[in-house]
């Protein structure tokens, strides 16, 4: 059962080859663009690596970079094949090359689509990674004298100012952590001693936030300390005050930023995927149309082109069988080695 049979007179074949050549060069540029987009995404993720707990999300830009490079190769060969396609003498040399070529090309094209799907699917993983990373960042904010953590304060401050956010979920995360280093606390003063005694772990907790949480759009000078105490500040109501500090949490801000970036990139990659798929489909039609011409004296006859010789399922089994046999054979050899005992030593 042949899939999508089409008639190809000589002129149509010529036009197909010419169109395909142009399309393959467009797809090459698109492949380079995909690689660049992957690099861009990776750079952006690496910039905030210190507030991410794991690098699972990096699989998306890595896949995009691999696919971009692969598509450069795929489209290079596509343009070479379609250049030779109209010359009945030169086309047969590609015969053996085309079957594995199509297998590899389809694999990488599907991988492109998978990368886009992954960018949406990994939102949860990104969020949990950011949650853990930001929690650690806030915890180690005060450790500006500990090697390995001395830049946490600077990073968190710059992050909060740039993304206009405060804390992990919101600004109250700062109330639960001691973010003022012991080096700057006067342990002889009553206030400090009271605060330290008031909780189990002996931490100096304040209902205050660092200066980087301050919102420049507030009409009044920033209130960062004694946020929940209305009487400590003139004409201040903590429940209704909205512009004083950033109310958004940094986790939400970062997730929105990265999802926005991946949506934009995903839209671009989807269009590249469509372009690449059309290149492969056109090449397949050209190949099958030219195969019917092979060996004939008159190269300008009308031939038929098709997508798949057999049905979809049969074609897939045809491709997967060698792979499965290779894997199974490997397993059998391994099992065989395990069951047969080693050379007996006496």
């Amino acid at each position: 059962m042949v899939v999508m049979k089409m008639k190809f007179p000589f002129q149509k074949r010529v036009k197909l080859a010419q169109g395909l050549w142009l399309l393959s060069w467009c797809a090459t540029v698109a492949g380079a663009t995909t690689f660049t987009l992957g690099c861009l995404l990776k750079t952006e993720l690496r910039r905030r690596a210190e507030v991410m707990d794991n690098t699972d999300i990096h699989i998306v830009p890595n896949t995009l970079m691999i696919v971009g490079l692969a598509s450069l190769g795929i489209n290079y060969f596509a343009s070479k094949i379609c250049q030779d396609a109209l010359d009945a003498g030169r086309f047969p040399r590609w015969k053996d090359f085309l079957k594995p070529y199509f297998a590899v090309s389809c694999f990488f094209t599907v991988l492109m689509l998978l990368a886009v799907i992954m960018s949406y699917a990994m939102k949860g993983s990104l969020e949990s990674s950011l949650k853990a990373g930001l929690r650690n960042g806030i915890r180690f904010y005060k450790d500006t004298d500990t090697p390995g953590r001395c830049f946490q304060k600077q990073n968190i401050d710059r992050l909060q100012m740039e993304f206009q956010c405060c804390g992990n979920t919101d600004f109250r995360d700062w109330f639960e952590v001691q973010w003022i280093s012991n080096r700057y606390l006067d342990f002889s003063s009553k206030e400090v001693k009271d605060r330290i005694k008031s909780n189990v772990d002996g931490r100096y907790l304040v209902d205050g936030v660092p200066f980087s949480c301050c919102n420049p759009r507030s009409p009044r000078p920033c209130i960062q300390y004694r946020l929940t105490n209305n009487s400590a500040h003139y004409n201040y109501d903590y429940q209704t005050e909205e512009l004083n500090i950033y109310l958004r949490g940094c986790r939400e801000a970062l997730v929105n930023y990265y999802m926005g970036l991946m949506n934009t990139i995903g839209a671009g990659v989807l269009s590249v995927f469509l372009l690449q798929a059309s290149v492969l489909v056109s090449l397949r039609f050209l190949q099958t149309a030219m195969e019917a011409v092979a060996g004939k004296e008159n190269t300008e006859i009308e031939t038929e082109g098709y997508l798949l010789e057999k049905g979809v399922k049969e074609t897939m089994m045809e491709y997967l069988n060698p792979v499965l046999t290779f894997l199974l054979l490997k397993n059998q050899v391994q099992e065989g080695e395990e069951t047969t005992p080693g050379p007996a030593t006496t």
Binding site: M161, I180, Y184, C214, P219, R220, C222, Y236
Partner: protein, 294 residues
């Protein structure tokens, strides 16, 4: 006595004319570059016109835009003339205008050199405009309820954060003005009454700075209030403390930013001038040789 006599047969002349035509199109691109540089500079000035009291001079970016447009027109015309010079019939109609065109080119190049020099020199009036503008800006910091000035606080805060600076000359400029609005001062409190009574104008002055002056690189949480009082904070000496707030003044920061832009633009305009001069010279030698030898 001819300068640099070279023998030219027809083929060589054609090739030379083509090269000059190509150079003219390159010069058109250079003209577009000058135009875009002028636009960029104009936009940058307008972005911060609030900090310059809306008093800044747009003469230089306007001049750059005009020069860019003239460059494009002149070079396109020159390219057309050079292209036609290979065909004697077409060339005949341009012949009378040639002398005026060359004189105009010389004038245009002189104007370009002047523009480049202006780019380096206009730094000085900009310095004064910035000093005045920032001083006024800081005065209106607290007026977030006055129409026309309600965004000054936000502008100043964002500028201090972006350019990593504090105050006009340095952070002590904030000690000399009242930057806390009266709406947020409790006039029944003793502390407020003391501060207001302590100076002639009845202003609430304090030795504190806004939060946007804070330096994130400081190892300790930012100290913005009671900055000169060492005993108000544990383990603090305001003479030796360097990382707490930004020490650079915003006038210096903005001046070096705009100075950098103007230096770059000046250097690029000089390069464009050299390109224009060499193109015009080659035009004369290549495209009109036959007219002098006819």
């Amino acid at each position: 006595m001819a300068l640099m006599v070279v023998k030219f047969d027809l083929k060589k002349r054609v090739k030379l004319a083509q090269t000059v035509w190509f150079m003219y199109w390159f010069a058109v691109l250079a003209g577009i570059l000058v135009l875009s540089l002028g636009l960029f500079f104009k936009i940058e000035l307008r972005k911060r016109s609030e900090l310059m009291d809306n008093n800044e001079s747009h003469f230089l970016p306007n001049l750059l835009i005009a020069m860019g447009l003239i460059a494009c027109a002149t070079n396109a015309f020159g390219g057309k003339v050079c292209y036609d010079s290979l065909d004697p019939t077409k060339f005949a109609k341009w012949k009378p205008m040639l002398k005026t065109f060359l004189v105009l080119c010389v004038g245009f190049n002189a104007l370009l050199v002047i523009t480049a020099l202006l780019c380096f020199v206009m730094r000085i009036p900009l310095q004064f405009t910035l000093a005045q503008g920032l001083k006024n800006g800081m005065k209106y910091y607290k007026d977030t309820d006055t129409p026309g000035r309600c965004y000054m606080k936000r502008t100043l805060d964002l500028m201090q954060i972006e350019f990593r600076c504090c105050g006009n000359d340095n952070y002590r400029d904030w000690f000399e003005i009242q930057w806390v609005s009266n709406r947020y001062l409790d006039f029944s409190a003793k502390e407020v009454k003391d501060r207001i009574g302590s100076n002639v104008d009845g202003q609430y002055l304090m030795d504190g700075v806004p939060f946007s002056c804070c330096n994130p690189s400081s190892p300790r949480p930012c100290i913005q209030y009671q900055m000169t009082n060492n005993s108000a904070h544990y383990s603090y000496d305001h003479y030796t403390e360097e990382l707490n707030v930004w020490r650079r003044g915003c006038r210096d920061a903005l001046l070096s930013y705009y100075g950098g832009i103007m230096n770059t633009i000046g250097a690029l305009v000089l390069l464009v001038t050299m390109l224009e001069v060499s193109t015009a010279e080659m035009h004369i030698s290549a495209c009109h040789l036959q007219s002098y030898f006819k």
